[in-house]
Subunit: 504 residues, 2 copies
């Protein structure tokens, strides 16, 4: 029955139930699971673990590529299994446990986790749990809709559990490009000079002996939770397309631009979709997650090639794309996140990086992770790998949140993920601020007038003027007032000054 999926005959005897396989995982272990932006996650072992933990509590350190789908993080959190979690998550229940201090969340640049594991700075990984479409005759593992950190988890782990997922089509085989940098001091350049280059293997090379268990699953990837474009995301897309047209006119870019990276989420997806009705063509992507917009751009003849670490689609796009995956396969590659997010490749290719901010300040510093400076949303993800090393780093956000009670442009970010040196372009539905070559005082004027919501501009202008007058400096601030808007939101439910105050 499994000939097609388990091509190494010796391994067929290791097929077992999820409960049996999960029994390999015990208290205190470090477990590396597949899964990146909801795609290609392990889908049965985590539930067996949760089930067991309810009877017989145990706690582990869980490493993944990025976020998981299928409520895996919720289920493991509720079962009390997670002591420590890295490098990224986006689950509402886990997030609450993290913010209560119950789960230690180590929020990392996505390119760094396996570098640290490989050099024993964190870890070691006791067990890897990897979703696969198949195991080859030589034991090598063919991943499904994501690679993420799976290859290095499998290579570095003591033992491997493979989840063969029968719903993941065998046609995915050949899509992956597994390249693992050599250990230092013998590391060579990564020989990748174009997003379409293939530099590695199509499967994860591991000796079959290390595969301790194989479990069969038939659970599908969770669909992406992306929202349709709205007036604001469409306005952001339009500002950016106008900006790129301007750059082409100035001779700084060609109409093929440079390889695009786009973060996860509604805004990034909307911007990419916006390229369908633009003068750009022959585009390429060198990104982490490939969303619906990637396939819309293929279909519109705008995009030539897309390199990612995962494919995360809405239910509808998933059906359409996977029914006809052969049509896209020659223009797609999935890479380990260490390669998709590698500083070397990002700088060499000259990526245009588009990521989303929760808030930005008047000097162009960006907070992507901490609500009101303290509460974790998802994590920094790959945004830091890209923004620091890109040709151009763009951050987008709506100018307000929570029906206008929060301004996403503030005097000082309450947490800094990307500092002014890494933020070239800031864009909201109000407009676009081109910050390249500007000093902080110049940035303030541009950001307030172009990006802030009109209802917050006076507050921001006043703050800036007050800071310049009373304190001055390269980056004028009144530290005692820097978080006034945040504190007011906490106390009154809105960052807006009350009319009484405003009149005073």
């Amino acid at each position: 029955m499994f000939e097609e999926r388990i091509r190494c005959a010796d391994l067929r005897s290791r097929v077992m139930s999820a409960d049996q396989a999960a029994a390999l995982i015990s208290d205190g272990m470090t477990v590396g699971m597949s899964g990146f932006t909801r795609a290609g996650d392990a889908k049965v072992i985590p539930f067996a673990m949760a089930e067991r933990a309810r009877r017989d509590p145990f706690r582990i350190t869980l490493l993944t590529g990025a976020s998981l789908g299928n409520d895996v993080d919720r289920t493991l959190t509720e079962a009390g299994v997670l002591a420590r979690r890295l490098p990224f998550q986006s689950d509402a229940t886990l997030r609450k446990a993290i913010n209560r201090g119950e789960v230690m969340f180590v929020d990392q640049h996505l390119s760094e986790t396996v570098e640290q594991l490989r050099t024993h700075q964190i870890g070691p990984v006791d067990i890897a749990v990897i979703e696969a479409i198949a195991i080859n005759a030589d034991g090598s593992i063919v991943p499904t809709t994501s690679i993420g950190n799976s290859a290095s988890f499998a290579i570095l782990a003591e033992k491997i559990i493979v989840e063969i997922n029968l719903t993941q089509p065998l046609e995915l085989e050949g899509l992956h490009d597994v390249y693992i940098p050599r250990r230092r001091p013998h590391r060579m350049p990564i020989p990748l000079t174009d997003p379409s280059d293939r530099i590695g293997e199509t499967a994860i090379p591991v000796p079959p002996e290390k595969i301790a268990a194989i479990v069969v699953s038939e659970k599908a990837d969770s669909a992406s939770t992306i929202l349709p474009a709205d007036a604001e995301t469409a306005a952001i897309a339009n500002h950016l397309i106008e900006f790129f047209e301007h750059e082409v006119r100035r001779g700084r870019l060609t109409t093929s631009l440079l390889p695009l990276q786009a973060g996860i989420g509604t805004i990034a997806n909307a911007v990419l979709s916006g390229f369908i009705h633009s003068p750009f063509h022959g585009l390429t992507m060198y990104s982490e997650v490939l969303q619906d917009s990637t396939f819309e751009l293929f279909d519109a003849g705008r995009l030539d090639f897309a390199s990612g670490s995962s494919i995360t689609l809405s239910a509808e796009t998933y059906r359409r794309v996977f029914a006809d995956i052969g049509r896209y396969k020659s223009r797609l590659v999935l890479r380990p996140q260490e390669v998709s997010n590698h500083p070397e490749v990002i700088r060499r290719l000259g990526i245009i990086a588009l990521n989303t901010a929760l808030e930005a300040d008047i000097y162009g510093n960006v907070n992507s992770t901490h609500v009101l400076g303290t509460h974790m949303m998802n994590g920094i993800g790959g945004s830091g790998d890209f923004a620091r090393n890109a040709y151009m780093a763009i951050f987008a956000t709506k100018s307000i949140a929570k029906d206008g009670r929060i301004s996403s442009i503030v005097p000082m970010v309450s947490h800094c993920d990307h500092n002014e040196h890494d933020v070239d372009i800031l864009v909201t539905e109000q407009g676009l601020a081109d910050l390249r070559g500007l000093a902080p005082r110049e940035r303030a004027a541009v950001i307030i007038e172009r990006c802030a919501h009109p209802q917050y501009r006076d507050l921001l202008r006043d703050y800036y003027k007050d800071a310049v007058t009373h304190i001055g400096g390269q980056t004028p601030h009144r530290l005692e007032r820097a978080f006034e808007m945040h504190v007011r939101f906490r106390e009154t439910g809105s960052m807006l000054a009350s009319t009484a105050e405003a009149a005073a």
Copy 2:
């Protein structure tokens, strides 16, 4: 007379006075000058410019490699010549003008300036002013004690002024390795896999026609202003050496460690000097500036090779080293700062990066640039290129400044240059905090107990406890109190709570 130094006969007619050459520079121009950490700066043109500006005011944008010596920045500031300055400076007079908002200072990652110039995102450079030991027969320029951004300034500028410095020894020839990455999308990997690799030319290739003027100078580089090691810097060095010994025992590093980068300044120099009495040998450096300690390590037989972008020495070491430069030359190379600080090479080689913080917070975020969050000290320099992409990023600082009236460990950094994702090790004279794999709440305990000065520990513990109790989150903060210590310093001259307050 100049046969030896101006080997292209046609160019000898372009020798002129500094005043004549400086007349090529006019109002509104962008000028790219050589100079990196006081070494190899243009030493006569700037004074001729200042002289002229006093009679006939004009303003320019000045780009350099990094900081200049010889009071060039002061002189140009006082003459009102600087409208805009990038990417780094360290001059007391210029700093004041920047902080008054009179000079727009664009503080950049040192690897990025020429990338942005090359792609016309900033610039263009009208005139390059490059200090050289010689001009070759083909017009190519042999730099002196630094390369910095000189090669790309010369290549990209409309015209070039060369300052031939007769005090810079001709023996420097052959020390430089000028490699310029190809333009995208045709860029290839940088073929550098060991700090000692030579991958480019020994001179800056420019057509002789572009050299519009040659000026002769006999002014020496300014000596470095490094202070001798004191009890605190010695304690920092000892903590770090003990830490590296521990890493070797754990099998994470060999006794040759990995290539070292060390920031400019007294602390970094003291730490490197500390290696003289350590069990480490066969060391290499892949750094920006090579200071006295580099040569002490050579002499002690500890260091095999050093790659940098400049050589900046104390007067005494300068005399000793340059009297005998042949002895060191085969173990030294100077590279453009784009290469010395390149993310690709930093990640590939696995650099151990050591930089200095002004302040760090209890969660491991670092401020390297802004005094009290507003006033520019020097700039971020290369610290962001290295910290983000290194194998390991170490930040060092004394635990207190200004006789204890300032704590360098604070609840929240008043400006964030390096966020917690980029800070692996934090060290003060009090002790060392190994932050790898720790979540923010765990970091707080380690940083307060190991790194903070005892007289500030209670204040920090109280802040943390209060933030956890009242707000919680991944990174607990009371935003209204986050800068209490900074504000108190401004108001009372000390971050310490007054005894009255403390008793309340």
